[in-house]
Amino acid sequence: MSAYVEPSLEVKKKGLKSRPVIATIILIGGIIGLLLAIGISVSIGAAEIDVRTVWSAVFQYDSTLVPHQIIQETRLPRVIGAALVGSSLAVSGSIMQGMTRNPLADPGLLGLNAGAAFMLAICFAFFPGLPYIYIILFAFVGAALGAGLVFGVGSLAKGGLTPMRLVLAGAAVTALLVALSEGIAIYYRINQDLAFWNAGGVSGARWENIKIMASWVILAILAAIVLSKSITLLSLGEEIAVGLGQKTGVIKLFGTIIILILAGSAVSVVGAVGFVGLVIPHITRFLVGYDYRWIIPCSAVLGGGLVVLADLAARMVNPPQETPIGALIAVIGVPFFLYLTRKGGQPL
């Protein structure tokens, strides 16, 4: 049996044991980077505020000082919101890619974001002044609606759901839902309310909303980490997972609920920001390997970092105007998407 192995292959004794080390470094480095980015993002803005003031505004808040107020009331919720949105989208993308083995799975591409945004339009049109605590629930339902439509349309076709077919169905459903949202916006004159959502900015973030959203997001990410081992197993293929004694139905159900909560939460704060859920999981997988116990926490950190930086860039590209954050991320996301589709959308 030993003759079976070519001697030239008997090299390389690394990889496995160093993986958790690399992943830990990325996780810790990522958290430090994220905190730094948050710090920089908070100090930079229309009013120049130095880092020491930022520090004292956070830890020794004095409500009589204007810089402290700017930081506490405007900049901090905004940057925390950006981090949470990035984490949500990246983690939901990771879970989607792991569960479906579809490298193109992303809450934006598969219609979840458009569905959530559509429900927001409905909220504004028919229930104006609805508290955020209910709006976010509508966003969850909307994400489920989008996903349901995409998977429904995709599976109507002969030959079942291929990664490409799902993306096409996602594009069609997204176009429909966006058109409907815009129709509602025009008819009910809520363009202004929806504008900042659809441009995908975090400028509207307020503490009371961020607190509600944060509790959902943190809960969902923790649940995702608990589920991560099972997601890795599912990513090996459903039959393998069943053979190893996994209750795949239960895992898929919980996985889907987590995805909907994360995508819905993100959209309910910033509107439809695409590509974070596509790009970050791929980069993370490249860095830390295939184990979702590492991919999920690392995606959360890297995704948060990406959106915080994108938001920072959005304010710096053309001040004092704000460039839509969605457009900035698309600059990275679109070439990456094209690269993945050129690879043929092979299953993960």
């Binding site: 090996l236 053979g243 190893l244």
Partner: protein
């Protein structure tokens, strides 16, 4: 030793019934191979035994208990499954993939314990994968990859191994290599092996028990001597075969064959699968 019996099962996909009222017993500690034409339901039977497909009627009994009623993790400690054409996720090393075989024994976040590591090391040893264990699985050849999947099933430490066409896409030498490995596992460790094979001569050579199927029903079942006959091959595949004996196993093999009169017609109407 767990016993496995299939009792009057009805299995299919949504409204397409593949197997109806099919019963068969799998002998313990033996190699049982299911053979038959494309689309005859042999993979479906294997998936029903492996609880990947649910039975609409009847049941598969493991140790006298209906398999669908047993906790799935408990079943996974007695029965390992190697599906057909498993796609390997990119970036996973041989060792990592094999270690997932320990899932049924893990709780919580699933850290590997000493006992798990022992079984993984043993599985790597038994499949001769030691020199390759830190390589990414996608960099391996087809034969080596199949060994990795078998090693993963071995790490699961089960009495029963179920394999769906484990030799497909492999060249002649690697096909035999895999079959001899399975034979060794059966001989030395008394593992019950159930598999689907396309190559009848291979099936006859390594199996104790053959189950021949056609159109969702069992045509013949028994030792290779009983099943590998000219008349059975005609009944199963619509072929006229010239029979001979394998010089290595003394079991019957076919030398060559031609199509029966009715075959062309049948082939045209057959669904693939």
């Amino acid at each position: 030793m767990p016993s496995l019996a299939i009792d009057q099962v009805k299995v299919g996909y949504s409204n397409l019934i593949i197997l109806d009222d099919l019963s068969v017993e799998i002998p313990e500690q033996k190699i049982t191979t299911i053979v038959g034409a494309n689309g005859c339901g042999k993979s479906t039977l294997l998936k029903a035994i492996a609880r990947i497909l649910k039975t609409q009627k009847g049941a598969v009994y493991l140790d006298g208990k209906a398999i669908q009623l047993l906790p799935t993790k408990e079943v996974a400690k007695k029965m390992a499954i190697l599906p057909q054409s498993s796609q390997v996720p990119t970036g996973l090393t041989v060792y990592e993939l094999i270690s997932y075989g320990r899932f049924p024994y893990q709780t919580g976040m699933g850290t590997l314990k000493v006992d798990d590591l022992k079984h993984i090391d043993w599985a790597i040893e038994a499949t001769g994968l030691n020199p390759l264990k830190d390589r990414p699985v996608e960099a391996l050849s087809g034969g080596q990859r199949q060994r990795v999947w078998i090693a993963m099933a071995l790490a699961q430490d089960t009495e029963i191994l179920i394999l769906d066409e484990p030799t497909t896409y492999l060249d002649l030498a690697h096909q035999l290599d895999i079959l001899l490995l399975l034979q060794k596992l059966n001989k030395e460790q008394k593992r019950t092996i159930i598999m689907v094979l396309h190559d009848l001569n291979h099936a006859s050579r390594v199996s104790h028990n053959l189950v021949a199927m056609r159109d969702g029903a069992i045509i013949e079942e028994g030792t290779p001597e009983q099943v590998m006959t000219q008349s059975n091959l005609k009944a199963i595949f619509d072929i006229e075969a010239t029979m001979s004996t394998c010089p290595f196993s003394n079991n019957p093999i076919y030398l060559s064959y031609t199509l029966s009169q009715s075959t062309k017609h049948m082939v045209q109407n057959k669904k693939s699968g």
